[in-house]
């Protein structure tokens, strides 16, 4: 690939984009829900979470966005299942910090999985918000709590 494109469109990312996880509606009730958008791009995303026994059991993400946003949604769906809301929040916040730091390191004890690959996007400042959108939306879903009340749409453009 050309000039740095292999760093942005890593094989892992292309793979998530081609076959995104979390596209199936949740089988049971939705415990938290949030919408996110990047107004300037038009990217839109709906995130639904199911919880049980203090842990997230599943995520459903509908993402209308670019390959980066789609892959990030897919990685999110893969990674949040089985975490407590606190752990999920910690991961989202660590990712956000990493995307704005020069080295972009995610601590191993966070068990960041493919998210580690996604931190490579930080070298493309215009795309950082694409990668962050699902995670910001996750934070907003967690803020809204389990009460199901819709929060204002999350946005990466603050």
């Amino acid at each position: 690939m050309n000039a740095g494109m292999d760093e942005l469109y890593r094989e892992v990312i292309l793979d998530h984009h081609r076959s995104p996880r979390g596209r199936e509606p949740l089988p049971g009730p939705v415990d938290a829900r949030a919408e996110g958008k990047n107004p300037s791009c038009g990217d839109e995303l709906v995130l639904e979470l199911a919880c049980a026994a203090g842990a997230i059991t599943g995520a459903h993400v509908e993402c209308r966005g670019c390959a980066i946003a789609t892959a990030s949604s897919s990685i999110l769906a893969e990674l949040v299942a089985g975490r407590t809301p606190q752990q999920a929040r910690a991961l989202a916040e660590a990712f956000r910090t990493a995307m704005h730091s020069p080295d972009g390191v995610l601590a191993d004890d966070l068990d960041p999985g493919d998210l580690e690959v996604l931190t490579g996007v930080r070298k493309f400042p215009a795309r950082v918000k694409c990668a962050l959108l699902p995670w910001i939306t996750l934070l907003s879903a967690l803020d809204a709590g389990g009460d199901g009340a819709p929060a204002a749409p999350a946005t990466t453009e603050a």
Partner: protein
């Protein structure tokens, strides 16, 4: 990537009257006068296909702005020292030059900060003269700049906002016009050239119909001034706005041009120095037109520079620039069409379009497209292009857009086509 792999004019594409030797099919016009075009991006020579967002500037414009600051810089209309007189002459000279360019007297040219400011001036300035229930007609292809100000006035003044729909071919549905122009229609606001569809609207026809109903007509000429040959009178509108930066001029400068007595109908919307006649602690009266619409220190540096852009356009002639854009657009439409699998928006006939083509590739999201093209040095724009309602009606949130200036050539479109192929290959298509 290989460039220029198909050097003969494809059948059906008329080469424009380019400069021999510049390029094999259609000469880049004055490309060597635009310094930025010498740039490399990601190791490749820049292929700039985003002129609808902002055109590049000839060196003469850049030099004129610098010369203003090096030799004349002063505030205008104030005091009577030599620098101030020179600055005022340059500023007023720009007003006259724009008037001459569009065929109107200088007194009917208001200098603004851009097309958006100018549209806010018209919408806000007409607002107080409108009554609840009055109607404003906009089209379904407007840029947010010619839509949101009207939404706001409508909300504030209790007006009804109506929308002229589009045909499947991306043109104004004129059949719907008689029904939508009612006895309450006070304003018809439409773009001259759509910044997404490329469509050139029949402004004179719409204006005539609007005038028969007693409505005033506002034309957003942001995409047409400096690209299409026309005079203000030919459009038949009451208000016309545009930005210098889309007509090879500097940023931070735009214009509102009014028909006879049209500016008189506007209340000022920005207040401060230079726009007043008399101020007491409790009240103020306005200065003469056009000054009453120009509060505060204007962008004299940009005004001093813009005439050089109009000179460049006139030197090339608008006729030739137009032919050039038609030729590039026709070629782009043809080659994008031949690629297959793309949705291409707007009229099929290049002669009915401005110099831009928007498209959507279901295999490559527009942002990824723009990113991958950029890796080849090709600049296109991806997004909703400040036309969300139009995109919603097209059923997509974003499109990719390639747009052309005098400095582009068929080669650049070849590069684009190859680049799209490359982007598809990345996504395994």
């Amino acid at each position: 990537m290989t460039r220029g792999d198909s050097l003969r004019a494809p059948a059906g594409v008329e080469p424009c009257a380019g400069q021999a030797g510049d390029c094999n099919r259609c000469g880049r016009i004055f490309a060597d006068r635009f310094p930025v075009l010498g740039r490399h991006v990601n190791g490749r020579p820049l292929v700039y296909l985003d002129s609808a967002a902002t055109t590049q500037k000839p060196g003469s414009v850049i030099a004129a702005e610098a010369r203003y600051y090096r030799e004349h810089n002063a505030n205008v209309h104030r005091g009577m020292h030599t620098l101030g007189v020179e600055a005022t002459d340059l500023y007023e000279g720009c007003r006259s030059r724009v008037g001459r360019f569009l065929g109107v007297p200088a007194e009917r040219v208001v200098v603004t900060r851009g097309a958006t400011s100018a549209l806010n001036l018209v919408a806000g300035g007409l607002g107080p003269s409108l009554r609840p229930g009055d109607e404003i007609l906009v089209t379904a292809m407007e840029h947010h700049a010619n839509l949101v100000p009207w939404i706001e006035v409508a909300r504030r003044e209790g007006l009804v906002l109506r929308h002229l729909p589009l045909t499947a071919g991306g043109e104004l549905d004129l059949d719907a016009l008689p029904r939508l122009l009612t006895a309450r229609t006070r304003v018809v606001a439409l773009t001259h050239v759509s910044n997404v569809l490329g469509t050139i609207n029949p402004v004179a026809e719409v204006a005539a119909a609007a005038h028969r109903r007693g409505a005033v007509v506002v034309v957003d000429a942001a995409q047409s001034v400096g690209h299409l040959p026309f005079t203000f009178d030919e459009l038949g509108a009451d208000y016309l706005v545009f930005s210098a930066h889309k007509a090879y001029g500097p940023m931070g400068l735009g214009f509102l041009v009014g028909g006879p007595d049209a500016l008189e109908r506007l209340q000022p919307v920005e207040f401060g120095g230079e726009m007043i006649e008399t101020v007491t602690l409790d009240g103020a009266t306005w200065a003469a037109i056009p000054y009453r619409f120009e509060a505060g220190t204007p962008n004299v540096g940009a005004a001093a520079a813009f005439p050089a852009a109009l000179d460049t356009i006139d030197e090339a002639t608008l006729q030739r620039l137009r032919q050039h854009e038609i030729s590039l657009t026709a070629y782009a439409l043809e080659r994008l069409g031949r690629l297959g699998g793309l949705t291409i928006y707007g009229p099929l006939d290049a002669a009915r379009r401005g110099g831009l083509v928007s498209f959507h590739d279901p295999m490559v999201h527009p942002h990824d497209m723009a990113q991958l093209l950029d890796s080849l040095g090709i600049a296109v724009r991806a997004g909703h292009h400040c036309a969300q309602p139009l995109h919603r009606s097209l059923g997509v949130v974003a499109t990719s857009r390639a747009s052309f200036g005098m400095y582009n050539a068929h080669d650049d479109i070849d590069a684009l086509i190859d680049g799209i192929g490359y982007a598809r290959s990345v996504f395994g298509a």
